[in-house]
Amino acid sequence: MSDVLLRVKDLYVEYRTEEEVVQAVNGCSFDVGIGETLGIVGETGAGKTTTALAIMRLLPDRTAHIVGGRIELGGENLLEIPEEEMRVTVRGERIAMIFQDPMTALNPVMTIRDQIAEAIHYHSLQLNEAEIESRIEEVLTLVGIPPNRKHEYPHQFSGGMKQRVVIAIALSCEPELLIADEPTTALDVTIQAQVLAMIDSLRERLGMAMILITHDLGIVAQTCDKVAVMYAGEIIEAGALEEIFTGENRHPYTVGLFEAIPNLKAETKRLSPIAGLMPDPSNLPEGCYFYERCPKAMEICRDVHPKLSDEAGHPIACHLFSSSTKSEVSK
């Protein structure tokens, strides 16, 4: 087991508007080890991006409120340090993030050189102009963009190339942790394969840890060491890749996710969708959030919210696998 780099513990995030309170993240906990890749999977609205933005402290401050929990980077609680310190010493410097849509993540009226330089200026004040210039060329080469294109603007690059530029900016300060939020969703499969292969080799070379947020189980299978499955704002199952993909004890939601995808290898006549929808985050049920849709729901699931427990070999939040439930059922 590698040393823990980032530890998220019981994180709660709410979005408050005049009409309602949306509970986007509800007691989310996970660890990322040094140099490790964690995949966070889940459907739209599961709270994946909100969790990532909370780690970066980039949530919109008018509506979003972190109401509980800790986010520890190397033992230090990021939620307690002042914004200025966060900006200078953590964000971009130790944790960098790449976003889903490379078309909107870049400033259209700045050359890509200036956008990379901006990131370096913020964090490496001691570098002189020549050193900055060579650093820019270095990261561009790293992501496979010819350095002589550095004076071009974002619109002169294709989608895949733009995502490479975004990655170059993220890597410019050699972060310890890279958060990639659906980095290839906007790209075509052949380009996606190029970008994923590149991220993977860079991560290995730089010894960087990564949180990869995606809804594509295929991408997780190819790039991650560990997986956390997120549903209605909480991690409902976490474990090594094999435990989540082929393990015997799995959360019914995880099983459902796998059954819903058409299988490329086998012939399936009908797909098995997960019935129903994710619960309304402004009005969460008392028991298990998956109760309404769960094919294996029991009485206890309606009333008692299951906690993550290790009893099935890896953390699962489901009454099916907790011994206290089993004894209760047998009674």
Partner: protein, 330 residues
């Protein structure tokens, strides 16, 4: 299930050398270039390719939502290529479309009943208000929408339900042919499975013919009888769905299949074939194979001359000199 239908094969939709060019200044963008397809009644033709390959344009041109630049389109044996918009009206009932984005394809100020009722109104299918209400309810039942939503607005529905409205609207005038343009790409996997099941159920029930446009290889394999692979406006390979996946002949198809991330941990260390480069410009492309600049098997004769689309094994067509050479060698 459509794949087992044994009725005598009769093409409902046919195109011959269909072309659609767009003007870009003085130049021409070849979006759809010389596509010949035929879809038998009750079957599904899958069209795959990456963004910008012309797959959506092909669908729209067949429906004559775009005027073709060249070639011919036949519906049920009758040529419709040169029909005026007014004459097309009679065919519109039979040829419908389901759009990709259920968020932007519905009018936000129109209720569900309004959206589904619109084609009924336009084609004067219902004789009275009561008849119309009955038909709308029937359609909502067919696609699995609860009756209580009849007066709801699109913003009150989630993506899956919105797409069901899109399906109901396409079914309203009992069409025979539907172009499904990426109907599940905007949806989550669990919802995607619901819509795919729905589309396959109604196809079986009503004997519909689909052209299913998508970039998702696992979806296209699941729903299609036959698949064409497009690259920069050209059809590079055409084969029955199982044949295409078990024996892809065109290097682009091979690359496309190998690039899909498979949710299988035993495949983690497989070498996925990463093809270099990106799609070149479709504006006035030179003759020759359009994949040549990215192809690892490229030969001298691949550029400069058009590549014939040949049937190498029964029903399996490919436009590739390398595949042909390898085939002839045995």
């Amino acid at each position: 299930m459509s794949r087992i239908v044994d009725a005598p094969n009769r093409p409902l939709i046919e195109t011959k050398g269909l072309k659609k060019y767009f003007d870009v200044g003085k130049k021409k963008l070849h979006a759809v270039d010389d596509i010949t397809i035929s879809i038998d009644e009750g079957k599904t033709l899958g069209v795959v390719g990456e963004s910008g390959c012309g797959k959506s344009t092909l669908g729209r041109t067949i429906l004559k939502l775009l005027e073709p630049t060249g070639g011919k389109i036949f519906f049920d044996g009758k040529e419709i290529t040169d029909l005026k918009p007014k004459e097309m009206r009679n065919y519109r009932r039979d040829m419908q479309m389901i759009f990709q984005d259920p968020y932007s394809s519905l009018n936000p100020r129109q209720t569900i009943a309004g959206a589904i009722g619109m084609p009924l109104k336009v084609h004067k299918i219902c004789t009275s208000k009561a008849d119309m209400d009955r038909r709308i309810k029937e359609l909502m039942d067919t696609v699995g929408l609860a009756q209580r939503l009849v007066n709801a607005y699109p913003h009150e529905l989630d993506g899956g339900r919105r797409q069901r409205v899109g399906v109901a609207r396409a079914l309203a005038c009992n069409p025979r042919f539907i172009v499904c343009d990426e109907p599940v790409s905007a949806l989550d996997v669990s919802i995607q499975a619901q819509i795919l099941n729905l589309l396959m159920d109604i196809q079986e029930e009503m004997g519909l013919t689909y052209m299913f446009v998508t970039h998702d290889m696992s979806v296209v394999k699941h729903i299609s009888d036959e698949i064409i692979v497009m690259y920069m406006g050209h059809c590079v390979e055409k084969a029955p769905y199982d044949e295409l996946f078990s024996n892809p002949l065109h290097p682009y198809t091979q690359a496309l299949l190998s690039a899909i991330p498979v949710p299988d941990v035993s495949m983690k260390f497989r070498q996925s074939k990463v093809i270099r480069g990106e799609v070149s410009s479709p504006i006035d492309p030179p003759p020759g194979c359009r994949f040549a600049n990215r192809c690892e098997y490229v030969m001298e004769e691949c550029t400069g001359q058009d590549i014939p689309f040949k049937e190498l094994s029964p029903n399996h067509h490919v436009a590739c000199l390398y595949a042909e050479k390898r085939h002839n060698r045995g």
